[in-house]
Point group: none
Chain length 254, copies 2
DNA sequence: CTTGACTCTGCACGAATATGCGCGTATTCT
DNA sequence: AGAATACGCGCATATTCGTGCAGAGTCAAG
């Protein structure tokens, strides 16, 4: 195995799991721990990760920690991203919504996943340039700067030719009675349209969105197949959705 | 086996597997490792892949590559960007090509410019989020990762509804006789189509592209209205273009 | 047809790089 | 404190690399 490839692999595992263990890596890759340790040392010298006893952590524990504390939901969004990413099977066509949570999903997709990702968000598209096996289809149209996605008739027209297996939707409100909602009328229409062009729709529902309703309704909960939520969400908060027959996807624990 | 054929094969394997190993290739092709290594070295020099110990990786781990290209003659590109940006008048509809030079143009656009920018490059689109007065239309389609633009039939279809005032085109070769050229067939078609949907076409021609021809021809020089070049370009290098009736746009000195 | 310039390929050899092992030391856990 | 584990360093070995060189093939001018 090529040294560079190995380092990439290490960084990938690190990004996905939040940590790596030297011994585990050695076994996974069938190499001596010395080699792994050498890699870790070099990556650490390049500032790509932070060396700790037994393995390594993401580059700046300080920064990561600071960021984590500053926006609590950042951690959660990443976990959601990981769980949502695992919903996309090789060979499938998946629609990825815009927004920061969706960017997290893109970031958590395995580097070697072979699938097709449809998105109307340039930022999501940019996240995917490193995924060699991924086909990326960008939905064009008028760019709405506040949410950094394309919408409008041109975007709807571009959608007509697409039938996806799964749609991962970002929203600002998930309420048992009020349904899914967002803060912008155009967005509501767009998300609904995206949903209609996918066989299944899953909602990326970070903690603070559960039980909340925003001004513009996208569609009722009944039309959704499942919610992707953080591990820390109380079961009580989810029961109304479970009773409606929705699947609940949670991140796998470390 | 022909050298070209062999290199093509190497790139193909590289794209499929995400890496190539010198030893393996030598066995597969029944050649000495020396030959393979020579090929790899040359492909690396052309920027088609990235050489590492034991084999090679795709050139466009994109990040490194894109970042690297970004810094090539950055000074000149910024100047060109400034000059090109000044071509876009308030109220106009302008098409902006992809590529690092075009990103520079986007970056140099006045923050208060009120116009419409059409682009098939997500990176250009991202540059423009801070321009409140700017309408941004993104051309969708299949995303080609090496050059970070959308192309293909979907992109062409999206274009049909658009008539722009001006198109700022990025190329890799500008030659008096050979015309405008680029390193990718699909790109050549796309650029030509973009040009056909604009009243005027100007070419972003940084120093190193003048007098150079790339494999795929976009169109003859006669169909272009002008070149945007760096201030430092020798007049002699431009005379053939001037004689053909092209306007030459140079950055205004500081 | 011949000759000379040029290109491509494989081989040889010294240099550079990567990997695994041993061993003494440092860190962590109980 | 003592055991277990992880660490870093030096060294030996195995690949891999780059370069110089020679033979084979190609092409075009004479």
């Amino acid at each position: 195995m090529l040294t560079q490839k190995r380092k990439h692999y290490i960084l990938e595992v690190l990004q996905r799991n939040g940590h790596v263990v030297a011994k585990t890596l050695a076994m996974e890759l069938g190499l001596s721990e010395d080699t792994i340790r050498r890699d870790l040392r070099e990556l650490a010298k390049d500032g790509q990760l932070q060396r700790v006893h037994g393995g390594a952590l993401p580059a700046s524990a300080a920064v990561a920690d600071y960021a984590a504390r500053q926006s609590i939901s950042e951690q959660g969004k990443r976990a959601i991203g990981q769980a949502a990413a695992s919903l996309i099977q090789p060979g499938q066509i998946a629609i990825l919504d815009g927004g920061t949570t969706a960017v997290q999903v893109a970031r958590q997709l395995p580097l070697n996943l072979a699938a097709t990702i449809v998105t109307h968000s340039p930022s999501v598209a940019m996240e995917l340039i490193n995924h060699a096996q991924l086909d990326v289809i960008l939905i064009g149209g008028k760019l709405y700067k506040h949410s950094m996605v394309t919408m409008g008739t041109a975007a709807l027209a571009a959608l007509t030719h697409i039938r996806a297996d799964i749609f991962l939707m970002g929203v600002t409100g998930v309420h048992p009675d009020a349904g899914l909602s967002t803060g912008n009328l155009e967005e509501a229409y767009m998300k609904r349209a995206l949903s209609e062009h996918a066989a299944e729709t899953f909602v990326l529902a970070s903690q603070e969105k559960l039980g909340v309703a925003s001004p513009y309704v996208i569609m009722p909960m009944a039309e959704v197949h499942g919610l992707v939520v953080e591990a820390s969400v109380a079961t009580a908060q989810l029961t109304p959705f479970v009773e409606m027959g929705l699947s609940i996807i949670k991140p796998s624990p470390l």
